[in-house]
Structures are given as C-alpha cells and as structure tokens.
C-alpha cells in the first residue's frame, strides 16, 4: 500500500512505521532515513508504479468512468498509482446515468485506457450486488490449473 501511495503522489518513496527487527526490509530493498525533525530512523518504501491496473467494476460508461459498489479495497489506490487502467465491467451504462449521481463514481476516465464489458468477470471471486465467491469453482480451477491443457479447458468451460 505504501509503495502504491508513493506512486499515486508522484514521490520517489514514502515512510512507513514498523518492520523494525524483521527480516522483511532486506527482501524488498526497504531502507531507512533519518526523520529530519526528530532524528529517529524510519523505513522508507520505494514507489511501486505499475504500468497497468486491471480492475473489475460493477458499472462503467464506455469512456471509463466507473462505479465500484461495496468496498473499493485497494482499487482506487491501484488506479491512481498505475500509468493506465483497464476496466472490466459487469455492465456498461450511459454517462448521463453516472452524471445523475456523480458522487458514486469512484474512477474517472482520465486515466482509463480501455473498458471491457465482462459480466461475471470477477468469477470465481465475488462481485458485490452480483455474485458471491464460488468455492466449488475455485476448487475446480485449482485442480484444472495443474496442467496447461486443464487450464485452457477450464477457461473455455467458464466463459
């Protein structure tokens, strides 16, 4: 989250509390800086700037303005951190419909490169208001994904 937030703000790194005494900073190239006010050491995390964010949303217009219903999780942060966004949407709606309640729109089209109409696009995960997690489908996927042929057959069957 800290790396994505640094990217979203256009800064090279961001401080983060914690991690002291753990082995994690060495595995991810976290470094420390001295707080210029207190002199205390604190870990800083480099900006994590994805080329793309792929997000599934409930409703989007064809230009890429989108509503996320339920918790946005890290989606808005990912959209702000990435260079560009690709949206998949349960349904495509008119821009005028979004303009009636613009405060519900979480993602603006300014950074969206493509919008794909993809009902069921979050399966076998959940999509609030549309479907819940499908445990049986996840088990089928795990079994099928053991081989490339199995995965291809799974994807074909789930389309």
């Amino acid at each position: 989250m800290t790396g994505l937030r640094a990217a979203s703000l256009g800064v090279p790194f961001e401080p983060v509390p914690g991690f002291v005494g753990t082995d994690l900073p060495a595995t991810a190239d976290f470094r420390t800086v001295k707080d210029p006010w207190t002199g205390e050491e604190i870990y800083v995390v480099p900006a994590l700037r994805p080329r793309w964010a792929l997000l599934h949303v409930q409703e989007a217009d064809a230009r890429g303005n989108a509503r996320i219903l339920g918790s946005p999780g890290y989606d808005l942060l990912m959209a702000a951190a990435a260079d560009q966004v690709i949206l998949t949407a349960e349904r495509i709606i008119e821009t005028e419909e979004l303009a009636r309640t613009p405060e519900l729109t979480g993602i603006s089209d300014l950074t969206v490169a493509a919008v794909v109409e993809a009902p069921g696009g979050a399966r076998p995960g959940d999509c609030p208001g549309h479907y819940d997690v499908d445990g049986a489908a996840i088990r089928r996927y795990l079994e099928a994904a053991r081989t490339a042929e199995g995965l291809a057959a799974y994807l074909e069957a789930e389309r």
Partner: protein, 259 residues
C-alpha cells in the same frame, strides 16, 4: 468612474453599470486565455476563478472540443446551465460523470496528468516568477495576500501554466517579485494590455491587445519590455467568440474581476 454595483444574489452580474473599457478588457482577457487552450489538453482551474473557468468553457465550445476541464469544485467537463457565481460551487458538477476530491485533483497533477492550468496572480516578474503571498517583507508585510493555493507545486508538475492579471500596472509586473510563491513551467502571461511569452531569457512581449501599443505596454510595465521576433497585435474577439461569451455568461460575471 462609477462605483461597482453590490454583488447581490446568485446569477446577477454587474450588467449595464460597467464601463465599456472594463467590459472590453474582460472579454479580451477571457478570449485570449481561451485561445491558448490546445485541443485534447487536460485543463484545470482553481477557486475564485470565474475568468479561467469561462475561458476553458469557451475553448471547449469552440476550437478545443476534446479539451478536458477539471474544476477544483469536483466537476469534470461540467456544463452548468448558467455560470455559477463561484468557480468552486456545486454548479460545476452539472453534467459531470464524477466528483473529484481535491486529493484526486492533486494526485492527477502530481503524476503529470494535467496539461494546462490557468491561474490568477498578484505579481509576476521579468523572470516569470509569481507572487501571491505578500507585498513587502514576509515578516512585516505591507499587504498579506491570499497565498499560492498549491501553486508552488503545481508550477512544477503541470505541463503549462498560464497566469493572468486583470490590471496591467508597473507594480504588478516588477523586475523582481517581493516573494517567490511559484516558479517553473510558466508559459504565458495575459493582461488587458499584453501577452508575454516565458522564454529561457525571461518574459518577452508576444502580443499587444487591441487599443494597446508597444509604448503603452512599456509605460505600464515595471520591467524592460523586450518583444519577441514574431510580436504582433492580438485580434479582438471574433463574432463567434462574442456570441459564445454572451451565451455562456449573459450576466457578465466576468466583469467583476476587472472593476
């Protein structure tokens, strides 16, 4: 000069009480700003910015239909049925598919996604440095100004900054500002008398507005005025521009900043 009318009630402008030269100055600055917008640019205007907001709408309805307009009040490509009295008012959400928070707008700017911003200022000097903070010394000011409102950052992350002045006078265009509030990607300075272009060697006179001459600009400018090689008169508003202005701002709210 007649005293300015009391601003009263939403939607009422200064109307007929305003002198012709004030109306002409307001129209000329708005159309000059609008002409600087390039089609497809992502543009932004701040609070207390009726002149830039109107200029951006004029550009979008004229030569730059694909330009995007972010209002700091949250709207994206808003098309209010009548010009809101405040450029941060909720009217700018009219027609917008999204509400952008101030954090959203700054994030876009910080990531280099805003191409053009139109900003007012109190002083701009020969080097294109802007002062919106204080006249006199910071600790013992003659006048404490409203502040830059993020300009110190925006000047260095937005691709092009155009600043405008509603009055062209020597103390507003000094050799050096009293306090550097912002410096960076300045592109143009627009006043009722002149258009300056920012060059590596400082501000140069690119055009003079209708009714102004090189001598008039020199007399009213605090720093030495150097014309560009292609310095030329700026055309007055076209018939099409006048008609659009009349339709977008029939109450002439734009005049208020020029009184």
């Amino acid at each position: 000069m007649t005293s300015p009318p009391e601003p009263s009630g939403v939607g009422t402008g200064p109307a007929a009480a305003v002198a012709d030269d004030v109306r002409a100055a307001a129209d000329q600055v708005v159309v000059t700003l609008a002409r600087l917008v390039r089609d497809g640019e992502v543009t932004c205007h701040g609070v207390n910015s009726i002149v830039p907001a109107l200029a951006l709408m004029l550009a979008r309805q004229g030569h730059a239909p694909s330009a995007r307009q972010i209002s700091i009040g949250g709207g994206l490509d808003g098309m209010p049925p009548s010009l809101p009295r405040s450029s941060s008012g909720s009217g700018w959400l009219s027609g917008s598919p999204v509400v952008l928070s101030n954090v959203d707008v700054y994030q876009l700017a910080l990531r280099g996604r805003v191409d053009l911003m139109l900003l007012g200022c109190v002083q701009v000097d020969a080097h294109g440095r802007v002062n919106s903070t204080v006249i006199g010394s910071f600790d013992r000011p003659e006048v404490r100004l409203p502040g830059g409102g993020g300009a110190a950052v925006l000047f260095q992350v937005v691709r092009r900054i155009v600043v405008y002045r509603t009055r062209h006078e020597p103390r507003a265009l000094p050799i050096a500002v009293d306090f550097v509030t912002a410096t960076g990607n300045l592109d143009r300075v627009v006043t009722p008398l002149a258009v300056f272009r920012a060059t590596p060697g400082g501000l140069k006179l690119e055009g003079f507005q209708p009714g102004a001459s090189l001598d008039a600009v020199r007399t009213r400018t605090g720093f030495a005025v150097v014309p560009t090689e292609d310095c030329a008169p700026v055309p007055p508003p076209t018939v099409a521009e006048r008609q659009l202005l009349e339709r977008l701002d029939p109450d002439r709210l734009r005049d208020l900043d020029f009184l």
